[in-house]
């Protein structure tokens, strides 16, 4: 592999220190090659290693013992909420999105949603569908309740014979 240039090797030593394990993997061999050829870089690496050794003294300070970590892992496990389905995740995302927006954007989205409901969703409930509307269902129920028959007024009249109609006229007369 072609050795790294002097400038790049210095930059790596200044940033990542003297331990080659800490250097970017794709540049490691090239930098080592360059250091072999330069006494100045070798001295720089030596100085960087002395700082690395000092840093290493502070690095292990906060680590916990295995039993302590296990107790915390058990606590995390015991308090896990149920995983969300796709709709739940979408709802959470929407909530978080709204939370991040300024008040006027929140109000705008709210108004747009109301307009959407009024313009698109509500009118579809009034479109003729072939099924009885609320009013017709109520009339059917009143008819059945009074007459005890399941036929609608129109069906009933359609079933009357000519003579029945004559009788009705006579009775009314």
């Amino acid at each position: 592999m072609k050795p790294a240039d002097q400038e790049r090797a210095e930059a790596i030593l200044h940033a990542y220190g003297g331990n080659p394990d800490r250097w970017p993997a794709n540049e490691r061999t090239a930098v080592l090659e360059r250091i072999k050829k330069s006494g100045q870089l070798l001295s720089l690496q030596h100085n960087a290693r002395s700082l690395d050794n000092l840093i290493a003294k502070d690095a292990g300070e906060t680590s916990m013992s295995a039993p302590e970590t296990e107790v915390i892992a058990a606590r995390i496990n015991n308090s896990l909420p149920a995983q969300q389905d796709a709709m739940g995740a979408l709802f959470t995302f929407f909530q978080q999105f709204m939370h991040r927006q300024p008040r006027f954007v929140q109000a705008g989205i709210g108004i747009a949603f109301l307009v959407l409901v009024m313009v698109i969703i509500l009118p579809t409930n009034n479109r003729p569908t072939g099924h009885p509307t609320g009013q017709a269902a109520f009339e059917q129920w009143v008819w059945e309740d009074i007459t005890g028959q399941s036929l609608t007024p129109n069906d009933y009249i359609a079933e009357l014979t000519f003579m029945d109609l004559v009788d009705l006229e006579v009775d009314e007369g």
Partner: protein, 204 residues
């Protein structure tokens, strides 16, 4: 002929070979054993990282718990992204630590730099004479980004790509942040050693 111990050893080796990406897929499907494996791999590192910011063990535990709960809840989204699990966990923990500071403790992180340095009490005075306390104090006085970059790369062994992702910068910028941090540390350590030797001369 294999013994039970051999089989168990082989099982453990195979379990270790399951990579993080595979574990995320399993966690996304609600597999608690996979989640436990993620915990055993990464919990200690996340706790240790969080403790460097908050200094209170209970707060660090809360941050770690929130980090892994978010993994449990959002694993489905995470499996679709090419980020490594490790850098994702560190990034979530880092953001939670920042929130912890901004909301509850200090107006600005850089105002809180002193909080990371060792306090000079009679009990800690003796400890402060050690190199470990000196370097701890020196790292504590670094600006927030320099300190985080150093913790991620030098203390936790993350790659430059992972560390750059976590603190939200480019690799080139990360390298200059790290170089500045190391230069400041070297200066601070030299000054502290000079001060201590002059104190020693005066008292001795």
């Amino acid at each position: 002929m294999y013994t039970v111990a051999d089989i168990n050893k082989r099982k453990a080796t195979l379990a270790d070979e399951v990579d993080d990406a595979e574990l995320v897929v399993q966690v996304a499907s609600g597999n608690r054993r996979a989640f436990n494996r993620v915990l055993s791999r990464h919990l200690n590192a996340i706790l240790s990282f969080s403790m460097r910011y908050v200094r209170q063990r209970s707060d660090a535990e809360d941050i770690a718990q929130e980090t892994f709960t978010r993994l449990w809840l959002h694993a489905k989204r995470l499996k679709a992204k090419p980020h490594s699990l490790r850098s994702w966990l560190y990034r979530v923990a880092y953001n939670l630590c920042m929130d912890w500071y901004r909301k509850d403790k200090y107006d600005s992180l850089d105002d809180a730099d002193g909080a990371f340095a060792c306090e000079e009490t009679p009990e800690t005075y003796a400890m402060n004479s050690t190199e470990q306390a000196m370097i701890h104090s020196a790292v504590g006085t670094l600006p927030e980004r320099q300190r985080t970059a150093l913790w991620l790369c030098a203390y936790h062994g993350l790659t430059n790509k992972e560390a750059a992702e976590i603190i939200g910068t480019s690799i080139h910028a990360l390298e200059s942040i790290l170089a500045r941090a190391r230069r400041t540390l070297r200066q601070t350590m030299n000054e502290q050693q000079l001060n201590r030797s002059s104190e020693y001369d005066e008292t001795g």
